[in-house]
Symmetry: D4
Subunit: 251 residues, 8 copies
């Protein structure tokens, strides 16, 4: 790279490059060397066969366009998140894909075989958190994970959770989903020795303040090994869980 | 009461009461009939032998004055809450009383015998909640309750709590004290069939926001039979617990 | 229990249990001993003849399914809370039950006779809090309590409240419901000597911030013997009141 | 004023004023016509014999300087608010004045005779609000009002307030000061037919959030005729009360 | 105010009304047995000829019922606030009244003559605050005040406000209404020497947080003589202004 | 800017416009008698050829009225912001103008030629911020700026931004628009040496709290040369950018 | 992890440890009678050789007592977090240990060899986050991880971060620590393909609101694979990172 | 700006500096291997002759080290912000510099001549905002701006501001600093036609919530051409103002 700089200075000296051009070139230097294609390639490597489209705020036309571009480019699996039923039906007319209504996810192409280190266990405190849980579950499955669902095992009826301790114990990573007081993350985190990704949900009313209560609860978890994603962010938790569950595969 | 009104009108007619006096008298009517002494007596009945002084924001001289007035008036037990050590020592020079340093409570006179329906069990999630717990405990004891303490049984190590389920099961009322994520109230509330008074504490840091996290958690408890008092309000919880534990004694 | 452990170790020594199996068994130990059935039985004991279904976020089909399962199992009374009119009508086509529209509660089966210690008095500051009050009232009635309603007696017209002091005085437990500034809980708490369960409501506008104002007010009540449940949580207050009102019946 | 404009345009035409000068002059027009001296005079008229210095954030030297300037200018009474004891003592070495320690107010010169329409009644819920109350009281007195103090009459012991209903009824304007749940303003507002200025205080702990609870409470008062000033703003309330109490004197 | 009561007493004194008739008229007074009608009577004693019904959260049937009861009882003017157009039309079929659509206020009976000390001036920063302003204006007019409106004179174009300084100067009390940054209250408060009632509105977007920005602004006003009511509470401001504007009439 | 005013003065100086004509044109100036039209004239003095109407909260009739008044008064370009499609169509029936649907802006009259110092570059983190970006862009164009759009270059895929560093480097002022975590402003601010106007958007969910997250992020930017406008305030950013981009033209 | 337990079982199987000895070692297990020491043993089963004491809120005497109990029980490494210098010096008089002042951590016993899957990289935006970063780093090292520190590479000077992309790329897990606007987590998350644990810090002033700004930013990260722990919770991040970095060792 | 870099390139072109010397000077450029010194060089390219050190959270030793490195590297002016008096005195023992105590800024080297487009006017609402104002003023001066100070001209006494309208009118850019209700920014923004950088301060009490009130106020300013920096961020405002005031010099 010193050569490039030396060449520029020589060009300045020779007058073949003006002072103004040289100043501009020198100001941009530090950023130009981060090669777009390299980064891009690297994203490919990371995400493997599955690409993700955030469906909310995109028209069905836009989504179809992106899907086609990806599929033509050889993409095996395409995940469309936050896809409501109406849009899904509009897209179905032109693209063949599976729609998971509860999870609000569309999957174009085949689901990959699970190739993670172990199981991703997804736990919810109640039934109202299931849409968020399914978003996490389908995401994880589409990224190549074996998923086990353990729903409606909230802490107010502890025996429901404790009677499934063996499922929890066998997990490689756990996604704990709860609204209201969000205590599930702490209780699960205290039971197991694997990472727990906590997802607060906006389920609740009054002083749950749209998920704030569960969010603060989870951030303050007295159990070690718990980290938190955004309210209702099932996708983010499923993605993070998959990353952890595939951690040694990269090497 | 109609007589009184009739008399007033007659006085107006006779000129022995002016229009202005009558207007004033008629405007005050609805409130005057709530008899001061009756209410006062009623407070005596309610609180029995124990009177409470909120020590914070009062000088030691003021506290001594009130204590003396109460004792001279025949009060058997006087509770002084939020009493810091310094003031306690200043008061000790003039008044004989027991000082509970951790609870920051002074008790003048003898502790009453416990005469409640059963036991008040006070549970904390960690050791840092103990000052709040002791405030609740001494308050309850000074109001005539048998108290059992169960400290440092937070949900991150659930077995600690579960191994004492029998103690919880025997309680008439439970005071559940926790900071950070405040999950203890929900877990305890789900295990027992007696009322649970939840006390959020300001223990924690960062996103605990001085107890807000635990407060919201407890208000959103998914367990039924849980109600909440102010952050760090051990006294309020002990008082409420005592009220519940003495509930049939009033009849 | 030492025998169980000893047996496990012998099995390890004998090779009939692998190291991995033994590690897993030893890790689960502390939680397995909390017997599911016992807890379950205990919940039965606690809630007696009445079971509760939280209707919000459940389809009418799901609710019908749960009701049938419970009734077939011998449940005498089933309470369905947060049940909107539309769902209620859909359910009515298949299940016979009473629908309390203002309270948004459905009751399957007969209302139990009141068997509490005394009366539960439910007080509101205005007329807008009545739906929350009715949720509390029907809940308490369905759990076997005699309920007295005292509506629209807010503190801005104090005589309305004071003229009913005798009703308040006779209560075993009071549920105080108010939106806006939530002062009712403190005023009632200062008048009576029984526990007061305060319910902030989302009634109000502007700086009431959906019930936050009333919630904070009630948590900061300067009256002793007041504890608080979530905003608009009439069910929780009714349940807690019933628990307190039945407290000696458990023994 | 058209003459002035016409003159300016003629000057432009004549070249005696440049385009740039004229543009600047035309841009400033709408604001220049608000005469400084007039406004100033008007402030004099309004505040009469008493001038106010906000002492917080000023050094004692600065305060002495301002006081001297005012006194030399013929000011009869000078009020220094938020003046802590240390500064007061420093100032006393050079200026003769009365220091009200609880109110943290210094008054230079004589207190004016009370010349308002009637009495300003200042009410507090507890003893901890007294410093704020005294700030309001001394302010009102220094502005020429007769003040009656009614302290420690909080709503948790309603009889304390009700037994003084006559004092409230005789007020021309009431300043109601309370921390914690701030219910006093609503209760007082519901009892009287004069304006109530509510002052939330930062007295409290936990969920009082430094006065936020009382502030929201007072803003949501269900009583008509209540308006609110900033947390702990005793001066503001005293000033507003004085304004109302002197309202017809201006004419 | 209180003219009606005073007249009754004079009639008693003069013998034109017998004691029995007077007792009949005053019977069912609030302090006697306090059913609904009695409440009203007591309010009348305090508030004079105008009664107020808060229309939000009441059905048109309920409103008609209350109006009829009041009118039959001799009420001259009845104000119905927060009355939306649909309800207003439903009520019109049975009750004759004027509906002020922008103010969302219905007025049954005749508007009283203005009998205050002077003018109430109502100022808004923009056009979006006009509904709140009209609520304040009609309220004040219905309570017997001469009202002058000064709309859309926000601080971003200061000359608009300054050119009407004379109107402000002549006011007995000013209601200052603004959303967004709420600066109007401070600027007006600094210009005049009469009380200013500030009303924050929920007009704005983003960081106005539904009126919070204007509310905080107004509470922190650096001008003396400004107090604040709830967000969008035009009625409260109009009522408070009327109280102040009638202040000497009580004597 | 101010060209029109300057031209008028030059015409006066040159004698091509008489004093009387000039007075006529300037008559009804804001400081004279300030009715609505006058206000506009004064704004024109400040803002030059483009006038802005905030469309939200105005009826289409009101908007048409204002537009006509402005156009009749010689206004070349009128900008109507926050104009939804429905109103736009209603207005189109009577006024000829261009409607930019994404930006929700209507432009009456011709777009001015760009006469700023350089380019205004408008950057967004994602596609959901484009409506806000277009509001900024059309505003800036209508105020005489050359605008370059750089959309969907959020920091999670840094190469997208870095590959356009040259566009950023050539900007005179940058408007950086982002929701969610709002990191774009800091990253852009760290790359360039021109002022950056940051616009947080309400795009996001959960803990984005309607734009609060992005707002706080941008206010705390660790890059120098970044200032912030209200959430979703594309107009404000475009206006500020234009002001900066025209800064030397005033001299 | 669990090596110790596994070793014990292998010794049992091999006969080198008798059943009685093993029972003795495992006796006082958590599920047996759960006093304080037993808790620790069970934690050891889960966490392997390193035990953690939260130092804040414990006296130095208490800490010494716990350390001794653990060491006597065979614990190789004991971590004491949130240990201020004063307490550290008091403890040093009785216990031999290394004190890391910046990290406020004490380590009793030897640091374990790193036995994770790869490197834990700890990144900070500025120098003020270094104490939090060191807490994370020492925690991770004490739990057997190789740690690489990359401090002061905030997004306002992006080249600082980009020039170390290779370090980031080699990480198995990254801990990203930032105050103020917290943008670092998103930028790092967008660059790498390993899990990122984000730690908001309370570094900043004004609208950073003690870390709230960074917290919200990180929760709203537009990059996938980012999860968040509590404000300033370096320990939690280090612990979580270690868990992830050791994930395959369990099998 | 960039003069130094430009000079170096000219020297290369002129032959007065050899390619090797230039490479040496530019070597360790940020994009090459980016150690600490290189960072500075790149910043210098952007910021010209003045370098800034954020003093808070750095020891005086660290500050001295950085200053020496910069000065040895040829830096003419070094600004040290948030430098408290104690540290300043410690540094003075080793480095010669001017300390501006009110602004808490140290300036090493000579102040540059002002070379901006015009004047930066700095306005405060009261005296308590002066430290923030001076931070902005010294920053702007150190970056080569002529600064005019206009302090204590808050909106509660509008004449104070209006009597200086000419100063405001002549500004190229205005920094408006206010605490409490922050109305100053809107009023100033409505008066002038240049960009206004608003700085909320933490001055105030109660509901000012440490500057939140002023911050929201300023973000919601109804005046166009106002943007906002962080609470108390005088440096940021001064920097932004300087950027704007130097905007055409880049070309």
């Amino acid at each position: 790279m010193n050569n490039e700089l030396r060449q520029l200075l020589e060009d300045v000296r020779d007058g073949s490059v003006s002072i103004d051009e040289a100043v501009l070139k020198l100001k941009k230097k530090p950023y130009e060397d981060l090669d777009y294609a390299k980064v891009d390639l690297h994203r490919q490597v990371r995400q493997g066969a599955t690409e993700v489209i955030y469906g909310a705020g995109k028209t069905s036309e836009q989504i179809i366009g992106i899907v086609n571009a990806l599929v033509n480019n050889g993409q095996e699996t395409v995940l469309i998140t936050r896809l409501d039923k109406e849009k899904a039906e509009a897209i179905k007319k032109q693209v063949d894909f599976n729609y998971y209504e509860v999870a609000r996810i569309g999957v174009v192409g085949s689901m990959p075989a699970s190739n993670g280190l172990g199981k991703v266990v997804i736990v919810t405190g109640g039934t109202s958190g299931i849409p968020v849980a399914e978003e996490a579950a389908i995401t994880a499955e589409a990224l190549g994970n074996e998923v086990e669902r353990l729903y409606d095992v909230g802490v107010a009826g502890l025996h429901r959770l404790l009677s499934h301790v063996d499922v929890l114990m066998e997990a490689k990573v756990i996604v704990a989903i709860a609204g209201m007081e969000g205590a599930l993350a702490s209780v699960v985190g205290g039971l197991v020795d694997c990472p727990v990704i906590a997802v607060p949900t906006s389920v609740g009313y009054g002083a749950s303040f749209e998920g704030l209560s569960a969010l603060l609860s989870m951030l303050n978890s007295c159990a070690s090994g718990v980290s938190v994603v955004n309210i209702d962010n099932g996708f983010g938790a499923g993605y993070m869980a998959s990353m952890i569950n595939h951690i040694t595969k990269v090497d």
